[in-house]
Amino acid sequence: MDEWLNSIIQGVLLGGLYALFATGMSLIFGVMRLVNIAHGDLIVLAAYLALICVDATGMAPLTSLLFVVPVMAVIGYVLQRGVLNLTLGDDILPPLLVTFGISIILQNLLLELFSADSRKLQSGWLDTASIQLGDTIAIGLVPLIIFGVAILVIGGLQLLFYRSKLGRAFRATSDDQDTARLMGIDNRHVFALAMAISLAVVAVAGVFLGMRTNFDPSIGPPRLLYAFEAVIIGGLGSLWGTFIGGIVIGVAQSIGAKIDPGWQILAGHIAFLVILVIRPRGLFPRAVD
């Protein structure tokens, strides 16, 4: 019994990481209906940026966030303003194709620069620190930190969206771009800010990914898939829904792995399909759409 409880707890904590993968994607989809195919590769890019910091200065991976988050945010702003804004319009295909292209470019660029070797961000004592609950359950400190940060990030974004002037502009632009422009909102700037925030979250997700598991340049697309599934399970446009979606996939994978290690990934996809059949619009769809 304890073993199953343990699997569920580990799955929930893993779900925190998946929620972080998905939040940035959920945010830009909510604001500008853009599906960023390069999302997973940008997560991996952030992990490598952290690796550069750690290798160059010997700083702790957590400290590297101070560098990686702002850099990724700037990349997001420039990417949106310089490239992706030009692809947005009535046709949904151009942004898909362009972000797909960016995905391939990033993968090959990272492969060229860092080789296909598997890397990890070493955190020293933190890697093995854990909290013992009873005799059989131990909670790793790193997964716990990731889970806590996921809650903070999503709660913070929720406040930003519903309590700030910028959030109001995000929601208005998402509703109706032309009318938002009549209010004096520069949609190009608002979209670029949304992408900057999205990649700031991606930066957090990437650093945590690197602290938790091994990574190499090819692992972006599966992370994109988990993010996508979490967003759809949660319901498009709902940030807390995305959080729950991440946990659903994390728990499903963890239980799948418990049954048979080969089933881990498959179990997550099955959970996604089952929820899609039962609730095609996700668990927490937005009321208006």
């Binding site: 002037k165 109001r168 502009a169 929601r171 208005a172 998402s174 509703d175 109706d176 032309d178 009318t179 938002a180 422009r181 009549l182 209010m183 004096g184 909102i185 520069d186 949609n187 208006v288």
Partner: protein
């Protein structure tokens, strides 16, 4: 003093040319009504003024400044606000948020949330409701209030009586003098000729993308208006 001036304004609606050289001059403080049948180019004209449709640099001058190719979000900051056809409230925002976002450009002036609530008291009662939960007339009030929040020098109203009950239309038009009293120039697009004649200092009639008639309501006969409106 001339506030708004268009010179040879042409505009396209996709491949279709909607305006064929509109020349118009509006003095500060005037109330202008634009009448015309569906498809005459009235809405296209307003969209050109706001920058949602971009034109030649010199085709539109506002306060002496060429704004024909300015972007919509920059035009608001100069002092042109629009109440769009169909109200176009933001469904994700509450009544109060819809009003607040009208002030996004940050122009100073007489209008703020308190003044809008004084103009339309019912909006204060419903301030927390989703904007689209309101009745049609109340939604129109939100849309007008939202435009006023930018403290415009020129307020464009596109078919604000469309789809509303006659008593509601009267209420809304009765509130407009409080807007013009602040010195705001008003331009209304209106299908109802009687309403237009009652509210306007001057009337322009559009037909198939051209101005076919211009003048003060008192100087215009029904026959001349019919002629200009339908072209027969």
């Amino acid at each position: 003093m001339t506030l708004l001036e268009t010179h040879g304004l042409t505009a396209f609606y996709g491949d279709f040319q909607a305006l064929f050289g509109i020349d118009m001059e509006v003095a500060e403080g005037e109330t202008i009504a634009i009448i015309g049948a569906n498809g005459a180019g009235k809405t296209t004209f307003l969209r050109s003024l706001t920058g949602l449709l971009r034109n030649a640099h010199d085709a539109v001058r506002f306060d002496g400044r060429p704004i024909g190719d300015a972007r919509a979000n920059a035009v608001v900051a100069l002092g042109i606000a629009m109440v769009p056809e169909g109200r176009k409230l933001f469904p994700s925002l509450s009544v109060e948020e819809n009003l607040l976002i009208g002030g996004h450009a940050g122009r100073k002036g007489p209008w703020d949330l308190g003044r809008i609530f004084a103009l339309f008291p019912v909006l204060q009662e419903r301030r927390g409701a989703p904007a689209t939960a309101l009745s049609g007339g109340q939604q129109q009030m939100v849309s007008i209030g939202r435009a006023l929040m930018s403290n415009p020098r020129l307020l464009l109203c596109d078919e604000i009586s469309l789809g509303l009950a006659p008593t509601i239309i009267r209420d809304i038009y009765d509130s407009l003098p409080q807007v013009t009293d602040t010195g705001c120039t008003l331009m209304v697009v209106e299908q109802d000729i009687n309403q237009a004649m009652a509210v306007a200092d001057r009337i322009y009639c559009f037909q198939e993308g051209r101005i076919t008639l211009e003048g003060r309501p008192a100087g215009l006969t029904r026959d001349r208006i019919r002629q200009a409106y339908f072209g027969v």
